[in-house]
């Protein structure tokens, strides 16, 4: 029995209902996270948190690329938007002058105010989402590769702005000393939320419509499904979480620069999704974990032997190998093709 979607109708399965299982799983996860903060060094805890942040980014790209069959290359741009927005909102009032950052305008709270973490993250996500809508409306009507290049272009535009709006973003120096609000719980909390949202979307009638569009656009249209609406929404939701991921990242590492949000970043996330398995929920998680761990194992080698570019080279090789031999990804299932 072939199936192109993950089997989610578990009403027929006897035993513990899925919802309870999930909650237990989350509890276990957080227990493990708590445990790791007690056992492991700060460095390792940092890496685990980073994986959580990348899970947010990868799952959201999965929604756009894997399930909707689009191919957005602009994810780094949305992350940049989220990172800069949230950083500029949460930056402590006392330090703004020293760091040549202008105080917040009145409609954002005024010069004596800086935002708390959570609203700032949401604001970043919403701003990214708005951009996705603006760019998406003209571009998503066209064939897939137009979106690829347009989203790439959007990313370039955004980083271009980040580098040149020196009064707002401090240009190519970037912003540092961002308060490190992101801890392991924030990172993985958002990861859980993202996974949940993606899971809900995919397993709804919305998700089914999206996959119908991915498989055969004309057939879907004939069924009365408007491709633009669905693509736009999945693009926008993906962008929202990318923005959040950017904000989380900024407040984890404490510093952001325009160069950090380049094509290399998009590519990393694309690899995580593709390697792990596009169009599956678990794929991006596995992909994110594998690639981050790999990177941090290889980092000392890169620095030591002065072989810069080694990590990306390995990433690219893995990608090509996977594409040739197992295009559905390591955890993916072969999708039926004509």
């Amino acid at each position: 029995m072939a199936s192109t979607t993950k089997n989610i109708n578990n009403e027929d399965r006897p035993g513990i209902p899925r919802g309870v299982l999930a909650l237990i799983g989350i509890a276990v996860l957080f227990a493990l996270l708590w445990g790791s903060t007690k056992v492991f060094s700060r460095y390792i805890v940092f890496i685990v948190s980073l994986i959580g942040v990348y899970v947010v980014a990868a799952e959201s790209l999965n929604l756009t690329n894997g399930y909707s069959g689009l191919f957005s290359l602009g994810h780094a741009g949305f992350m940049a938007v989220g990172a800069y927005t949230s950083a500029l909102l949460t930056f402590p009032v006392e330090m703004r002058e020293v760091f040549a950052l202008s105080p917040l305008p009145n409609w954002l709270g005024g010069p004596q105010f800086h935002w708390p973490f959570f609203p700032a993250l949401i604001a970043g996500g919403l701003f990214a989402m708005a951009l996705a809508f603006i760019v998406g409306v003209p571009v998503l009507r066209l064939r897939g590769h137009y979106l690829s290049v347009a989203s790439l272009g959007l990313m370039v535009l955004i980083t271009s702005l980040a580098m040149n709006l020196r009064n707002v973003t401090r240009g190519s120096i970037g912003i540092n000393s961002i308060p490190k609000y992101t801890n392991i719980y924030w990172a993985w909390g958002w990861a859980v939320v993202t996974v949940y949202v993606v899971w809900r979307v995919v397993n709804s009638s919305f998700g089914r419509a999206m996959m119908a569009i991915r498989e055969d656009v004309s057939a879907a249209q004939v069924q009365g499904i408007n491709p633009l609406k669905y693509r736009l929404l999945s693009f926008a939701i993906g962008a929202f979480f990318a923005g959040v991921a950017g904000g989380l990242y900024g407040h984890l590492s404490g510093a952001i620069r325009p160069y950090g949000f380049s094509f290399d970043l998009t590519f990393q996330i694309v690899i995580m999704v593709v390697l792990g398995g596009m169009g599956t929920i678990q794929g991006p998680i596995a992909g994110a974990a594998t690639l981050i761990v790999l990177r941090y194992i290889l980092k000392p080698v890169e620095e030591g032997l002065k072989v810069y570019g080694l990590v990306e080279l390995i990433y690219a090789t893995l990608l090509i190998v996977v594409m040739i031999y197992k295009p559905e990804g390591i955890l993916g299932r072969r999708v039926l093709r004509k």
Binding site: A2, L336, R337, K338
Partner: protein, 234 residues
């Protein structure tokens, strides 16, 4: 000359034709008829090599060509005139014909064949420099036929040559089909228009949802399948 041995052809996991067997004697016109979706085009594509059967085999001139790629089959003497013409609309008439002879090395032979085709279809000679997409439906069909003939085939696969054409044009096309056959080319004809097809063929196969339902000489088949007239909406 051509033997199809019980082939199964699938589109993904969906079977399009099952246990299909037919044979074509040299020099004949054989017809394959059936309703839309019966599997006629699939059969031709399998013979041409565009689709590969999952089961069964195809024997051409005593050689097994089941795994031979299409471009080799063209060299071996099989040519196809596909459904809907599929000419290269952006190229000229002459370019289309030249491409028909793509694999041929014998320049003089190609020239001779070109002259012959111009003789069969004078309108192509007239419009030889015109962009193919601007020709009328009937002219495009002639071009597609001519292009197929340019490869100097021994077996010609014709997929619905009368599709979408006015009755006068159809009569003309069939006149040419008979003439091509007289010059020695074996023809496998696929049609929905049973009338004309039965008139020219010496043997017929009726295809229904992927299987051969009946076969035999045209008048026998027509008698057996009186219900078919209503079925195919004659």
């Amino acid at each position: 000359m051509l033997k199809v041995n019980e082939i199964d052809v699938y589109y993904g996991v969906i079977p399009a034709i099952r246990k299909l067997a037919l044979h074509i004697d040299q020099g004949r016109i054989v017809t394959l008829v059936g309703a839309n979706g019966a599997g006629k085009t699939t059969t031709l594509k399998a013979i041409m090599g565009i689709l590969v059967p999952k089961e069964g085999g195809i024997i051409y001139r005593d050689g097994d060509i089941t795994r031979v790629p299409s471009d080799r089959r063209v060299e071996m003497g099989i040519a196809m005139v596909p459904e809907g013409r599929q000419i290269f609309a952006r190229l000229t008439v002459k370019d289309n014909l030249d491409l028909g002879a793509f694999h041929r090395r014998d320049r003089s032979g190609v020239k001779r064949d070109l002259e012959w085709i111009y003789g069969l279809f004078p309108v192509l000679k007239e419009r030889t420099g015109q962009i193919a997409g601007t020709l009328s439906g009937g002219e495009q069909q002639m071009l597609a036929l001519g292009r197929g003939l340019m490869s100097h085939p021994e077996l010609l696969l014709l997929d619905e040559p009368s599709l979408g054409l006015a009755p006068l044009v159809v009569r003309e096309i069939y006149r040419v089909i008979r003439e091509i056959n007289k010059s020695g080319i074996t023809i496998l004809l696929v049609e929905q228009n049973i009338n004309m097809a039965m008139k020219v063929s010496s043997y017929a196969y009726i295809l229904e949802t992927g299987r051969i339902r009946t076969e035999g000489k045209p008048h026998e088949v027509m008698k057996k399948e009186n219900i078919m007239k209503a079925y195919l909406g004659e």
